[in-house]
């Protein structure tokens, strides 16, 4: 784009710059606010004097988190579900995207499969039948309940399928002539050529697994099987549930009693994995999202 010159345009640029800085500050404010709270003294927080700078800096809240066994049990469950669930999603995405990227004249039933998986994305039986199915399969309170029901990320399959379709067919033919079967073509040609797209879908499935709380809430009755987000939801929602039939004043009093510094520290510690992979995510997701959307 050609940018205007002249004093008026300079002023306008300045105004836009300031507005954008304001927007960025607004985006970051809540996170910095609880960061400040987590390092502050309990009484300073209760008095409401902490905004962006910690008052009475101490590590008591983080010490409390480190000593909280339930927190780390839940943290470990989350790590397990990310490794197991992310791994299974990774394998299934590759295995499904490849056959679906073939032309109908090579793979006659391709469109049948395609409609089938799209249908599962568009329609669902709803929460209750889903829950009863998993219960009847005997998966309640098992790590597999957090992993298997969402093991096929249909949206990711479609992204990767579209990416596979963009790989030149000549490579495929060359591999076939050299005697490679479909498995070898997939693993030694398609997978290595699709690393950016694979990185995108994998990062998304890691984030989704790390952030899920609801399956843990309804499928895990034993607290020691619940993932971190479910555990934190209990701390937050505990207050909501206990507030049934209470007046506004009573709810307020209870919310004051909850330990803000420790809760803030827990929230921040739970965010660490996301913050660690965020630079990677940002590198890939913009390209990755548009990669799969290009069609011939």
């Amino acid at each position: 784009m050609v940018y205007g010159k002249g004093p008026l345009n300079r002023i306008l640029d300045g105004v836009i710059l300031i507005i954008l800085c304001g927007i960025a500050t607004l985006s970051l404010f809540p996170l910095l606010h609880i960061l400040a709270i987590s390092f502050s003294d309990k009484s300073a927080v209760a008095a409401g004097s902490v905004i962006l700078w910690p008052k009475g800096v101490n590590l008591a809240a983080y010490r409390a988190v480190v000593q909280d066994g339930a927190f780390f049990t839940a943290f470990w469950v989350s790590v397990k579900r990310v490794l197991l669930g992310g791994g299974i999603q990774f394998a299934l995405t590759i295995l499904m995207a490849y056959p679906l990227s073939r032309e109908v004249n090579i793979f006659r039933l391709r469109n049948v499969y395609m409609w089938f998986i799209v249908f599962t994305m568009l329609f669902s039986g709803g929460l209750i039948p889903w829950y009863i199915t998993i219960r009847d399969l005997g998966l309640l309170d098992s790590i597999w309940a957090l992993v298997l029901p969402g093991a096929v990320p249909v949206f990711n399959v479609i992204i990767l399928m579209n990416f596979f379709r963009g790989i030149p067919k000549e490579l495929d033919d060359a591999a076939t002539i050299d005697g490679a079967g479909p498995w070898r073509t997939l693993l030694q040609i398609y997978v290595p050529l699709s690393l950016p797209a694979l990185a995108t879908v994998t990062l998304f499935s890691i984030v989704t697994h790390w952030n899920s709380f609801f399956d843990g809430l309804i499928l895990m009755n034993n607290p020691s099987n619940q993932p971190l987000q479910t555990y934190l939801n209990q701390i937050v929602v505990q207050f909501n549930n206990s507030s049934a039939n209470m007046t506004v004043d009573e709810i307020e009093r209870i919310s004051k009693l909850s330990n803000q510094t420790v809760n803030s520290a827990k929230i921040l510690v739970s965010m660490i994995p996301i913050l660690i992979i965020y630079p990677l995510l940002q590198k890939y997701f913009v390209n990755g999202l548009t990669l799969g959307s290009v069609k011939e």
Binding site: M1, A46, L95, F116, I117, L127, I274, L289
Partner: protein
């Protein structure tokens, strides 16, 4: 030859298809619960049929009307607000040339998208409480403090506001992509014709991305019944059921807390069917107005 290769393709698809059959297709048969006097012991193959009784009951109780209206109200406001906020943000960012600053701002505004509603619910709960930072700000400028999460007047707007805060940056990505695809020659021509900055925005930029705007608007039609379960669930409480209870939270409470399986499934089924119709309409509109095809 082709047949032998196809066999391998079937093999590759097999595990995924099996899991989809088990966890997506099989539960669809569970919709029959909505037409039954469901007994958890007999399961959905053995329970007694009652025809449309559950749907009649659903239409009689005031709850169901309330949750459908709340859902539509919150969802439509979210869709509109997010679209407008994302568009304005993208246009502002597009006006600046400092690439480093642009990247810096983008890095910050995309971040909330990746943080879960559980964590954001915890943060928002603290900030909006009576002694939280927002109410302190209100008192500072001489206004009365407000119990945002306990007031039926405020709650829907808290939901919309926090959703815009979390998602506007990420929603702007599509617009930013469309903006970079505009041919610079158009701007040069406008410059030569003596167009002002405003005129360039009005006659070059906006027409060039109008197809994208229409596409996003039509595709978001399918979310009219999705008001955001995870968000509402992490922010609401009994005081704001009247304004904040949505279809998905209602189905959860009726079905899994109060064990009214039939009612919950009836409400959920109605939602699934209407959603499917909305998806169909939105894809038709997107194909017609923006030349969009899913695959």
């Amino acid at each position: 030859m082709n047949k032998r290769i196809a066999l391998h393709y079937h093999l590759m698809l097999f595990p995924g298809i099996l899991l989809l059959l088990l966890f997506s297709i099989y539960p669809m048969f569970g919709i029959v619960i909505a037409f039954q006097d469901f007994s958890p012991v007999k399961g959905f193959w053995g329970s007694e049929w009652v025809g449309l009784e559950n749907f009649k009951y659903m239409l009689e109780i005031p709850d169901s009307k309330r949750v459908f209206l709340n859902t539509i109200f919150i969802a439509v406001m979210k869709i509109t607000a997010n679209l407008v906020a994302a568009l304005i943000f993208a246009l502002l960012l597009n006006e600046l040339r400092a690439r480093f600053f642009k990247r810096f701002v983008q890095t910050i505004v995309y971040l909330p998208h990746f943080i879960s509603w559980v964590l954001i619910g915890g943060i928002v709960g603290q900030m909006l409480s009576l002694d939280g930072v927002v109410n302190q700000g209100l008192e500072l400028i001489g206004l009365d403090s407000v119990f945002f999460l306990g007031s039926n007047n405020w709650f829907p707007f808290v939901i919309v506001g926090t959703d815009v805060w979390k998602e506007f940056g990420f929603s702007a990505i599509v617009f930013l992509a469309a903006l970079t695809a505009i041919n610079p020659v158009l701007y040069e021509a406008a410059e030569i014709d003596g167009a002002t900055r405003w005129q360039k925005l009005r006659f070059v930029t906006l027409p060039a991305i109008s197809a994208t705007i229409i596409l996003i608007a039509t595709l978001s039609l399918q979310n009219v019944l999705n008001a955001g379960f995870e968000q509402v669930f992490n922010l609401y409480n009994t005081l704001v059921y009247e304004s904040g209870d949505i279809i998905d939270t209602y189905v959860y409470r009726m079905g899994l807390i109060e064990s009214q399986y039939e009612l919950a499934t009836a409400v959920g089924t109605l939602k699934s069917i209407v959603s499917l119709i909305l998806i169909y309409i939105s894809y038709q509109l997107a194909a017609k107005f923006a030349n969009y095809r899913i695959f």
